[in-house]
């Protein structure tokens, strides 16, 4: 097979010398045969005649030899490609439209595919990632919660479905002593963690089992990015000391560049070091920021593993009702954790962009059909002089492959640009390894897209043209015949399909637009404008007690409030949309005691004076905190409207009392008096409903991590440096964990929907334009074909408006067909984007009506332009039109 191909290729490239060789070979034969006849005594004329009879025509023999050597198909292919290239260059208008259409469609597809690939398809950088399962605890009212350390130990000891199980704790560290103090994220992990996921340190050693126990020497592994950015990638970093939260840690290893945790992580420390400082972790009821990761034993299914773990959780709940009542367990393949919320959006976008490619192909098929119609006579002539059908198809396909080749290359360029633009919108954690980029898979995808579209838009016109050519139409006089009916039907079908696909895209974009519009119109319960938010965490070494902590916060607040541009400033924990939260059970005085696990479980905030005013949270009843709500007076709290509704239905909660935790916990109940009711805030994003919330005054609690919120008279981001210097004057080693404006947080909370909206808008606009071009092409071609007929009608006295109506009706029929089919398909498909929608039904009638109006308008406009042009023509000219 291969040698055959090589033989053919060699022959092709040596075609010239091959031919002379063939001539020489045949000439030798002729000469010898002639000689033989002459020697036999024939006259020269007779000898030549015999030779011709015996041998045949030399030209024909030569052709047959070339055929036998298998040169023809390859030769023909290169001929066709060159011919295709030439014809395309001679029709710059046609070629430009075709190339732009295809480049846009393939570019958009490739860009979206690159994201789909790195988010959904590319393997995670772990050994056998499909066997890695993330385990969490669950609670019927709270949802997924972290794993308590004693529970993890029991899970690990009792299960038979995981070959190994590790524990990972999220930790924030204050890294100081290198340059500016800063907060970095880290994880405290059990010593089996890295071997479990299949990662080996790039430099240094893995953690040891002895380091799982409290009292372990502080050691740390650096991730590759931190090693590069802070330690210049120096190998002698091993054994050196770095300061985390004011303690010295010895660097024992550097992780490989491909290492990824679910969240961005800069350092890993052994669990034992973390346990030393956080001995409360040994209490079973304590659940911090912890997950377990297990490697499922070969041959065990996820369902089997789940069944066994649920049974273990039930046993533990029965054994330790205090801590575990109602707590269950959840098992999740690790990939789901990485992909998270982005999956539905990506799939919708991928489907949408595929539709765009289909529309583009339909359009190109139409363009090629139209051109093939103009070449009917050329093709009929070719068939008449002996070209086979296959040969004609090959020639026509060669042209579409030339278009697809160039279009695909241009599209790849567009895709690279598009990928850069998209990168900033996509959460980095969702992409495995590097962010979306060009790789072999993406290149192959682009190639496949180009080849498949070349076949899709090239084959139908090619088939069509030979079918037309077979009814030899040599005698027909050019374009004025009506035998193009079949072709027109083809084209009309394609345009109907384009319009239908456009309806689906427009409906999707419309629903998305309405969702985002509804979402940003949601009242978040606070006013985000002109607010800067800075996150600060105090390290406990420097601030050992509540008094020191409160003193720091007071100093900071006073300093910031003194800045001239600051209108107001306040401190609060768990500010809305920051994804930080703290919750706990409460007991309302006098309420019937629910079972453990069914107590009200509100979000808790600690706030300074002025918090409500600064954040713009409305006070609905009672009073705000005042200076007199100090450490020494009985504790007070504010509650939100949801608590008033749920826990005090029909009553005024002001003056009522509750306590933290459950009565059976309390050493001595400390009753907290409700002094006011405030509005609900959307703590967890605009799309998520409000929960129960309570607020306590900073003076009565002393959190070591708070958000500083500053309302400014000017652009809030310009305050950053003056706030930094206020902070440095109080404690120059105190880092700021993160800075953002509240407006930005609101934006981010609708971020993935907004990206989906932007892309869907772009795709559907593209679809609409392409479909518009499609229907324009069909109508203008059919009008041009009917110029003579229109001339006759006008000569016979038809009024221009009547003819206009006739043409518009033709377009309207096509549009109506597309609209009906598209609407039915869209009804069936939009429910797949339910997850992306917000308070809009996937069958929202208003959206569908608007889509119909837009599409009809575009379709009629596309018909009106060619119709008006034809009607301007003088009837006499029209009659003579050939």
């Amino acid at each position: 097979m291969l040698s055959d191909l090589l033989f053919r290729l060699r022959t092709l490239f040596r075609a010239k010398s091959m031919d002379t060789g063939l001539d020489e070979e045949l000439q030798f034969h002729i000469d010898r045969q002639l000689e033989k006849h002459l020697q036999a005594g024939l006259s020269p004329e007779e000898a030549r005649r015999r030779l011709y009879l015996e041998f045949g025509g030399p030209a024909q023999v030569r052709e047959e030899c070339r055929e036998a050597r298998g040169v023809r198909p390859l030769e023909a292919l290169s001929q066709d490609l060159r011919y295709g290239f030439r014809t395309l260059r001679k029709n710059p208008g046609f070629t430009t439209v075709a190339l732009i259409t295809l480049a846009l469609a393939i570019g958009a597809n490739t860009a979206i595919f690159s994201v789909v690939y790195s988010a959904l398809l590319r393997p995670l950088p772990y050994t056998d990632p499909d066997h890695l399962i993330v385990l969490n605890e669950t609670h019927p009212r709270i949802g997924t919660v972290s794993v308590s350390y004693p529970n993890y130990l029991d899970w690990r000891a009792q299960n038979h479905v995981f070959s190994e199980m590790a524990l990972v704790v999220g930790v924030g560290y204050n890294l100081s002593g290198i340059s500016q103090p800063e907060t970095i994220t880290g994880q405290a992990v059990t010593s089996n963690y890295l071997s479990l996921i299949g990662v080996h340190p790039l430099l240094g050693r893995d953690f040891e089992p002895s380091e799982d126990k409290p009292g372990a020497t502080p050691v740390v592994m650096l991730t590759y990015p931190l090693w590069q950015s802070h330690f210049g990638g120096r190998r002698d970093v091993l054994g050196s000391n770095i300061s985390l939260d004011g303690r010295g840690f010895t660097v024992i290893a550097v992780l490989p560049p491909g290492f990824r945790a679910v969240e961005t992580v800069s350092v890993l420390a052994p669990l034992g070091v973390w346990l030393t400082k956080n001995s409360y972790a040994f209490e079973r009821g304590n659940r911090g920021d912890t997950v377990a990761i297990g490697r499922i034993t070969n041959g065990v299914t996820l369902a089997q593993a789940r069944a066994e773990m649920v049974a273990i959780a039930a046993r533990l709940a029965a054994a330790y009702p205090e801590a575990n009542n109602q707590f269950g367990i959840s098992l999740q393949p690790i990939r789901e954790l990485f992909v998270g919320d982005i999956r539905p959006a990506l799939l919708v976008l991928f489907a949408a962009v595929m539709f765009v490619l289909l529309i583009a192909c339909a359009n190109l098929a139409n363009l090629f059909l139209m051109r093939a119609a103009g070449r009917t006579r050329e093709i009929a002539l070719r068939i008449a002089i002996g070209a086979t059908g296959g040969r004609i198809i090959q020639q026509m396909l060669a042209e579409s492959f030339v278009v697809a080749g160039f279009g695909g290359a241009l599209g790849l360029g567009l895709a690279v640009a598009g990928m850069r633009a998209m990168k900033s919108f996509i959460p980095a954690a969702a992409l495995s390894g590097d962010a979306a980029n060009l790789n072999l898979a993406v290149l192959l995808f682009a190639l496949a897209a180009a080849v498949l579209s070349a076949i899709a838009f090239g084959l139908a016109p090619a088939m069509q043209s030979i079918r037309a050519g077979v009814h030899s139409r040599l005698k027909e006089s050019g374009k004025s015949t009506t035998s193009g009916v079949r072709q027109n039907r083809w084209r009309t079908t394609l345009v109907v399909a384009e319009l239908a696909l456009s309806v689906i895209l427009l409906a999707g974009a419309g629903l998305m637009m309405k969702s985002v519009y509804r979402l940003v119109a949601v009242d978040p319960g606070f006013r985000p404008h002109h607010l800067l938010r800075l996150d600060l965490g105090l390290t406990s070494l420097k601030y050992p007690n509540d008094t020191a902590i409160r003193a720091f916060w007071r100093q900071l607040l006073d300093g910031v409030r003194a800045l001239p541009e600051v209108e107001s400033a306040a401190l609060g924990t768990n500010v809305p949309l920051t994804n930080s939260h703290s919750r706990g059970d409460i007991t309302v005085e006098g309420m019937p005691l629910p079972a453990p696990g069914s107590f009200p479980h509100p979000d808790r905030h600690a706030v300074s004076l002025g918090y409500l005013r600064t954040l713009g949270v409305r006070l609905l009843a009672g009073r705000d905190f005042t200076e007199s709500d100090s450490e020494t007076v009985p504790p007070v709290a504010l509650v939100n409207a949801r608590i008033a509704r749920d826990l005090f239905p029909g009553q005024n909660p002001v003056g009522k009392r509750f306590m933290s935790g459950r009565p059976d916990w309390a050493r001595k109940p400390e009753w907290i008096t409700i002094v006011g009711v405030v509005d609900d805030t959307r703590m967890y994003g605009l799309a998520n409903p409000s929960r129960l919330e309570i607020y306590r005054p900073l003076a009565q609690v002393a959190p070591d991590e708070m958000d500083l919120i500053v309302k400014s008279r000017i652009d809030p981001t310009s305050l950053t440096s003056s706030i930094r210097s206020v902070l440095a004057s109080i404690d120059r080693n105190q880092p700021i964990t993160s800075i953002s404006t509240m407006d930005q947080l609101v934006q981010d909370s609708v971020g993935s929907r907004r990206l989906t909206l932007i892309l869907l808008d772009v795709f559907s606009a593209l679809a609409l334009v392409l479909a518009g071009i499609g229907i324009y092409g069909v109508i203008s071609y059919s009008v041009a074909q009917r110029t003579q007929e229109i001339g006759i009608r006008m000569a016979l006295g038809a009024a221009r408006p009547d003819i206009m109506k006739m043409i518009l009706l033709q377009g309207a029929r096509i549009a109506a067909a597309g609209l009906i089919i598209g609407t039915i398909a869209a009804f069936a498909l939009t429910r797949y984007m339910q997850k992306l929608l917000f308070s809009v039904s996937p069958e929202d009638p208003a959206t569908f009506a608007l889509v119909a109006v837009v599409l009809t308008f575009v379709a009629l406009l596309a018909c009106y332009i060619p119709a008006r042009r034809t009607l301007r023509v003088d009837p006499i000219t029209a009659l003579r039109y050939e």
Partner: protein
């Protein structure tokens, strides 16, 4: 004695057989076939060359330029290893075919 036109497919067999004796050029092959068949079989000389090029493409024979008896440049063909095997198979097949046909004819 009248001349017989070649049945379909036998030309390849005759070429391979001729070349199994010695390398030969195209004209030589046609002469040789006529001689060996005692002038009964007649090759349409024009169809010899496409057949030669086809066999070369299949790798059963290979060609090189050489000097002819009268000192001219001529293209000589010779059998390759696969060609020799092919000749054996085809000869076997041919013998089966002819003996079967003979049997049928003998019975009637």
């Amino acid at each position: 004695m009248s001349r017989i036109d070649l049945p379909q497919g036998t030309l390849d067999l005759l070429i391979l057989r001729t070349l199994s004796l010695a390398p030969q050029h195209g004209w030589g092959i046609s002469e040789r076939v006529q001689q060996m068949s005692r002038e009964v079989l007649c090759i349409q000389q024009g169809s010899l060359y496409p057949a030669l090029h086809r066999l070369e493409r299949r790798g059963w024979i290979k060609a090189r330029w050489g000097k002819s008896e009268n000192n001219r440049r001529a293209r000589y063909y010779e059998l390759t290893k696969t060609g020799r095997k092919q000749l054996e198979t085809e000869t076997g097949l041919w013998k089966q075919l002819t003996s079967a046909v003979n049997q049928v004819l003998g019975e009637s």
